[in-house]
C-alpha cells in the first residue's frame, strides 16, 4: 500500500538511495543538490547502508570515482547540479562510451552567468549529447519513482542514467509522497550482476581502451543501439513499477490531449502548473492539453508525433536557450521528430521560459495558450522564437 510521508525532492532521492544501498557513492557538494550526498553520508555514518562513500575534491573526480567503481563491478551513484554537471562533462562521455550504468541524481540549476543558484535546465541540456539516458520529474514523487526505476533501465541496456528534478522548486519543497516499502524496493531493483567487470578473475578485460578508426565507429553504433533499445526497457520497467505501486509512467505523459486542438510540450515541475492552467481553460470550454516529456534521452520521437499530429498549434517550451538564434532544444527535437514521422499539420512556436528561477505561474501558461489560440484562429504563426514573462 505504500508509506504516507512528506519529503522534499532531495530527501526523497536520498531515501531511495538508502533503500537501494548501492556499493559506492562518489560526490562533491553543490547547491541545490548538496542535501542528497549530505543526507546519504549520514546514512553511511549511522551504518544504515554499507555504501563506500568517497568524498572527492571536484565533480570531475566524483564521476571518475563512479567510473572506476562501476567498471570494477559495483553499483555507483552520484549527485550534482549546474556547473558541477558541466565540470563532469568530460567523464560523462567516458561513462557512457564505456557502457557503465552509473546513476546520477541532478537537481537542475542555471549556469553562470550572471551567477544564479535557481532552477532552469541549462545544466542538463548542456550535456544532452553525452550518451546518458535522461529522465525528468515533475514532483518529489516522480523524482523518487524515477530513481527506483533508474538502475533497472541503465543496467538492462548498459548506459548511465540521469534522474533530473527541478532545483529548489521540487528539490527543496516539502510535499506529500508515497514511499515504497524497503523490502519491495530491494526486490524490484535487484542485485547488480554485470556481464563483464574488471574484478572478475575468470575474465580478463580492459575498460576504456583506445579505438582506432577501424573500431571507433562500430563502438559508437552499439552505443546508439543501446539508446534505441532503452525506449522499450523504460516502458517495461514502468509497467512492472505500476504493478507494484499503481503509479504509471511512460516516455511521455499526455494530459487532456484526446481532443486537444492547442497543446504545450515541456518537462519538469512546470508541468504541474500547466495542468492547473489546462484545467482552468478546459472549464471555459477550450480544447487545450499538455504533453510532458519524462524521457528526454532517448527522445520519444514516435510518442510525441502521435500526441501532436492532430493539434492545430503547439508551443514547445524550453527552460534554457540553445543560443542558436531560433529555438530551444525541445522545440528543435520535436520539430525533427514530427518531420521524421511525416507530421506537418500543426503550427508551432518555441518558447523560452523560467530561466534562472523566473517563476512560472498558471497565468504564464495561460498566456502561451492565448498565443496559440491566436495562431490557430488566424493561421499566422508570427515570431516563432519567443521569450515568456520577460521585460523587454
Amino acid at each position: 500500500m505504500g508509506i504516507r510521508e512528506r519529503l522534499s525532492g532531495n530527501e526523497a532521492v536520498a531515501y531511495a538511495m538508502k533503500q537501494i544501498n548501492p556499493d559506492v557513492m562518489g560526490a562533491y557538494p553543490i547547491t541545490p543538490s548538496t542535501e542528497i550526498p549530505q543526507y546519504f553520508s549520514a546514512y553511511v555514518d549511522n551504518g544504515e547502508v554499507d555504501t563506500e562513500f568517497i568524498a572527492v575534491e571536484s565533480e570531475h573526480s566524483a564521476m571518475s570515482t563512479c567510473i572506476g567503481a562501476e567498471a570494477a563491478g559495483c553499483r555507483a551513484i552520484s549527485a550534482t547540479s549546474s556547473c558541477g554537471l558541466i565540470y563532469m562533462a568530460e567523464m560523462l562521455y567516458v561513462a557512457a562510451s564505456d557502457r557503465l550504468p552509473i546513476t546520477l541524481a541532478v537537481s537542475c540549476r542555471a549556469l553562470s552567468g550572471p551567477i544564479n543558484i535557481n532552477n532552469d535546465h541549462s545544466d542538463a541540456m548542456a550535456v544532452r549529447d553525452a550518451g546518458w539516458i535522461m529522465l525528468f520529474a515533475e514532483t518529489n514523487q516522480e523524482a523518487y519513482d524515477n530513481y527506483l526505476q533508474a538502475m533497472r533501465i541503465g543496467e538492462a541496456v548498459g548506459l548511465p542514467i540521469m534522474v533530473c528534478q527541478d532545483g529548489f522548486i521540487t528539490s527543496h519543497a516539502i510535499e506529500n509522497i508515497e514511499l515504497v516499502e524497503t523490502d519491495k524496493v530491494k526486490a524490484f531493483v535487484g542485485e547488480y550482476k554485470p556481464q563483464h567487470y574488471l574484478l572478475d578473475p575468470s575474465e580478463r578485460i580492459a575498460v576504456g581502451a583506445y579505438a582506432t578508426p577501424v573500431y571507433y565507429m562500430e563502438s559508437k553504433r552499439l552505443q546508439a543501439q543501446a539508446m534505441l533499445d532503452a525506449k522499450d526497457v523504460i516502458r517495461s520497467v514502468a509497467n512492472e513499477f505500476a504493478q507494484m505501486t499503481g503509479r504509471e509512467y511512460g516516455l511521455i505523459e499526455k494530459y487532456k490531449m484526446d481532443d486537444a486542438e492547442l497543446a504545450i510540450l515541456l518537462m519538469g515541475s512546470s508541468a504541474g502548473t500547466a495542468k492547473e492552467a489546462v484545467d482552468q481553460l478546459r472549464g471555459q470550454g477550450k480544447k487545450v492539453g499538455l504533453v510532458k516529456i519524462r524521457s528526454f534521452r532517448p527522445f520519444p520521437t514516435e510518442d510525441i508525433a502521435q500526441a501532436l499530429k492532430g493539434v492545430k498549434a503547439f508551443a514547445a517550451m524550453d527552460k534554457d536557450d540553445s543560443f542558436n538564434g531560433h529555438c530551444g532544444p525541445i522545440f528543435a527535437e520535436t520539430a525533427a521528430a514530427l518531420l521524421a514521422q511525416g507530421v506537418s499539420g500543426p503550427k508551432a512556436i518555441s518558447y523560452i521560459y523560467g530561466l534562472g528561477g523566473r517563476d512560472v505561474r498558471v497565468e504564464s501558461i495561460q498566456h502561451v495558450f492565448a498565443d496559440l489560440e491566436h495562431i490557430a484562429a488566424t493561421g499566422d504563426v508570427g515570431e516563432t522564437y519567443r521569450y515568456l514573462d520577460v521585460r523587454e
Binding site: R6, I174, G272, E276, G357, D359
Partner: protein
C-alpha cells in the same frame, strides 16, 4: 475549510520563517492534508527579508509557483518588516495577516496600505522569553496562524505538537512543557482586530 488554503510567510534570514512554514506543513500533514512548504531561495544572508509559502489542501495541488494572492500572511519577526516589504500584496480581504508584535492591531493597521481584512497581533517574542527564556518566535507564531486560519483543527494541532516536541526534544525534556505553554498561550492571547 476552503478547497485550498495558501499562506505566505515574511521573515528575516536566520530567524525562522522557513522553519515555521515547514512546521505548519508538518502539522497539516499529520492531520491528513496534502501540503506544500517551500521557501523562496536566493543568496540569503542573516537579517535580509525572506519569504516562504504553504499550500494546504484536501487534494494534491499540482501548482509549483510562488503564491501571489494568499489567504493568510504571517509576519514572523517583527513589525519593522512592514515598512520595507509590501506584506499585504495580493492578500485576500476575507483572509488575515498575523504579525509578531506587542502592539494592538488597530495601531498597525495604518501601516498596511489600506488592507481591509483582519489584522492580528501576537507578542511571540515576549511569550517565548517568558516560557522558554529565549526569543524563539516560531512556536507561538505557528500557534497563532493555526488559531486564526483554522487550517488545522486546534485540538488535533495541540496533540500533534506535543507528540512532535516529545520526539524532537527527547534528550532535553525540560523544554517540552515550556513549548507547550507557549503554544497554548499564543492561541489564547492572539489579538484579532
Amino acid at each position: 475549510m476552503k478547497d485550498i488554503v495558501e499562506i505566505r510567510w515574511h521573515g528575516r534570514g536566520g530567524q525562522g520563517a522557513k522553519t515555521a512554514s515547514l512546521l505548519l506543513a508538518d502539522a497539516a500533514f499529520n492531520t491528513g492534508k496534502y501540503v506544500q512548504g517551500f521557501p523562496e531561495y536566493g543568496p540569503e544572508r542573516m537579517g535580509a527579508p525572506i519569504t516562504a509559502y504553504n499550500r494546504i489542501s484536501d487534494r494534491r495541488s499540482t501548482v509549483h509557483s510562488n503564491i501571489y494572492e494568499p489567504d493568510y500572511v504571517v509576519v514572523v519577526v517583527d513589525e519593522t518588516l512592514l515598512s520595507s516589504v509590501d506584506v499585504t500584496a495580493g492578500l485576500k480581504e476575507e483572509g488575515a495577516i498575523v504579525i509578531n508584535s506587542g502592539k494592538d492591531p488597530a495601531e498597525l493597521r495604518p501601516k498596511l496600505k489600506g488592507y481591509k481584512g483582519r489584522v492580528c497581533t501576537i507578542d511571540a517574542g515576549r511569550i517565548s522569553e517568558e516560557e522558554l527564556g529565549k526569543n524563539f518566535p516560531n512556536t507561538p507564531m505557528l500557534a497563532a496562524i493555526v488559531k486564526v486560519s483554522g487550517v488545522v483543527e486546534p485540538e488535533a494541532f495541540v496533540k500533534d505538537m506535543e507528540a512532535s516536541f516529545k520526539h524532537k526534544f527527547a534528550s532535553k525534556p525540560q523544554v517540552i512543557d515550556g513549548n507547550m505553554r507557549a503554544l497554548k498561550r499564543s492561541m489564547e492571547e492572539v489579538r484579532i482586530g
